[in-house]
């Protein structure tokens, strides 16, 4: 903290960042007490698009809850699909055919690239550079087209089913994905040249928003935020699900703990996702894409179940309490940015306004997922 902010002779004022603000990517409101250009206290206020998905889970049958999974984190909906499918398969003991698992992984990783691309573009736009967003959007459109051709929707996917996926992928999708990977790989060095290497951006990101591994642990931060703080934690490796153990990829970890590290983790993850997709496409087995004998009306045995996946922003986990009927007794959705943003209040104390917004952008919040 600067001596200016610490001085006794200070006059503070309140500034409302949001709910409608270009830097908050949605309807997040941050009540900031400012001391000149320094932040004295910043309190995020949520709930502007709270939809009570958890109550919906109690009132709908297990199958009817599917469309909700696409509407939490609209940017990485497939990972959320994956979590719900995994949760119920764990509860019901359904064995998923291998081909379906590979398709799940391929689509989920495409979705992750897409999410990181938008995160990258929107982050740079927060910092005032508009052009990288458009380049990222260009690549992202390719992914959306691919996913649309297999899932039928562009954003709020409802593609997975208990025991498999809705429909099989075809050769067009496979060749299209390979062509995309070939096209996309050289783009990342271009982004690094245009954006990461830029001296202006480096000044804005390096050393801004330091987050120690300890504060991440205390606040339950996960995903690129945690990996940018030097902790090698990724559900795909640490708590392997689906066919991730059979695929080659590395977990990018940076030890700088600043906004640049978090940004770099996302950039590197895109390349790793490319690797996963390529490997999965090579290993893609033949076979059915739906498990046989999945009951239409699911009634998982009594008890509570937990399942976690690595979504684009961190650990997404679901805990459900079943009472043996066809609806859940209690459905709890643990969304990653909820925990990631909860440390903003503590970490942003004494920061400059522009740094704080750069820091907030590096947490990559998606508001519907926080508010649920």
């Amino acid at each position: 903290m600067s001596s200016l902010a610490q001085s006794q002779l200070r006059e503070t004022f309140e500034l409302n960042i949001g709910p409608q603000h270009p830097a908050t990517h949605g309807v997040l409101r941050i009540k900031v007490v400012m001391d000149g250009e320094y932040i004295d206290r910043a309190e995020p206020i949520l709930g502007y698009i709270h939809r009570m998905h958890e109550k919906m889970g109690e009132n709908r049958t297990w199958n009817q809850f599917w469309p909700n999974m696409g509407r939490l984190d609209y940017l990485s909906a497939i990972a959320y699909n994956h979590c719900y499918a995994g949760l119920m398969e764990r509860a019901m003991g359904i064995v998923v055919p291998e081909r379906a698992e590979y398709i799940r992984v391929i689509t989920a990783e495409l979705n992750r690239i897409q999410s990181h691309l938008l995160g990258f573009g929107a982050y740079i736009m927060d910092l005032g550079g508009f052009t990288p967003l458009m380049y990222a959007m260009d690549e992202r459109e390719q992914i959306l087209d691919l996913l649309e051709s297999v899932t039928g929707s562009r954003l709020t996917y409802c593609y997975f089913r208990f025991g498999g996926v809705y429909n099989d992928i075809d050769d067009d999708f496979i060749t299209g994905t390979r062509a995309f990977l070939k096209r996309f790989r050289p783009q990342i060095p271009m982004y690094h040249k245009l954006v990461t290497g830029n001296v202006i951006l480096m000044n804005r990101l390096i050393g801004v928003g330091p987050l120690s591994a300890e504060i991440c642990r205390k606040y339950g931060a996960t995903g690129p935020v945690l990996r940018g703080s030097g902790v090698n934690y990724d559900i795909r490796r640490n708590e392997p699900y689906s066919v991730y153990p059979e695929l080659d990829f590395d977990i990018p970890v940076y030890h700088e703990c600043d906004s640049m590290a978090r940004y770099m983790v996302r950039m590197d993850e895109m390349l790793q996702s490319c690797r996963i997709i390529e490997h999965a496409l090579n290993k893609l087995p033949e076979g059915p894409v739906m498990a046989e004998k999945v009951p239409k009306a699911l009634k998982p045995p009594k008890g509570d179940y937990h399942y976690a996946v690595e979504a684009a922003r961190g650990t997404f986990s679901m805990r459900t309490v079943s009472d043996g009927t066809n609806t859940s007794y209690r459905m709890r959705l643990r969304s990653p940015t909820y925990s990631n943003v909860s440390l903003f209040e503590e970490a942003s104390r004494g920061m400059l306004l522009s740094d704080a917004l750069a820091f907030l952008g590096s947490l990559d919040p998606v508001i519907p997922e926080m508010d649920r």
């Binding site: 599917w66 469309p67 696409g70 260009d138 039928g152 709020t156 429909n167 040249k193 001296v199």
Partner: protein, 195 residues
């Protein structure tokens, strides 16, 4: 001090690299599609709103009016109206109303449909300023020129009529102890039919 000049030089170099890239992009052709003039072809799996499918053999829908789509819908946006017609096997669909304002395109109805009577349409130009425009009768959409009458099976019709009469007679027989006259009438009609 050496760091000072190094910073300047690397900084300026990084800026020049960025300018080079944008210049290159400036000289390449734009990739945007001019939407109202050019439109993308939708993929076959695109999920528009649901639609009733035409059975290629009969030219009719194959809905059996079981109401599974209605039950399975998370947001309750489907209403299936059906009635029993004389001489037609099963129920006849009279209206299939989809309230698209609440539909979330999840596909549960399509999953649940045993006869495969519904599927996703490829329509995406659905903008409108009025809410009522989103309440579709899918049966009307399937047959815009007018819903054809289902074929009447004469044998079935005959059987049904017989059944009806039998039921009437049974009902009349029940009432017999109270009123005798109607029973007589019933008896007469039966005799007529037999002759």
């Amino acid at each position: 001090m050496s760091g000072y000049f190094k910073d300047i030089i690397t900084g300026l170099k990084s800026l020049a690299v960025g300018l080079q890239i944008t210049n290159k992009e400036f000289l390449t052709k734009p990739i945007t599609l001019q939407y109202p003039h050019v439109a993308v072809k939708m993929t076959p799996r695109y999920r528009g709103h649901i639609e009733l499918l035409k059975d290629p053999e009969t030219g009719m829908n194959s809905c059996i009016c079981c109401g599974m789509c209605e039950k399975g819908c998370p947001s309750g946006c489907i209403t299936v109206k059906s009635e029993k017609r004389p001489g037609v096997k099963g129920k006849v669909l009279t209206a299939y109303i989809l309230n698209f304002t609440t539909c979330s395109l999840c596909g549960q109805c399509v999953d649940n449909c045993k006869p495969g009577a519904i599927g996703f349409s490829n329509e995406y130009n659905l903008a409108s300023t009025r809410r009522e425009d989103y309440i579709y009768d899918l049966l009307q959409k399937l047959h815009p020129e007018g819903v054809p009458e289902p074929e009447v099976d004469p044998e079935l019709l005959k059987k049904e009529l017989e059944k009806q009469e039998a039921a009437k007679k049974a009902a009349a027989a029940k009432k017999e102890p109270a009123q005798k006259a109607p029973a007589k009438e019933g008896g007469e009609s039966k005799a007529e039919e037999k002759s």
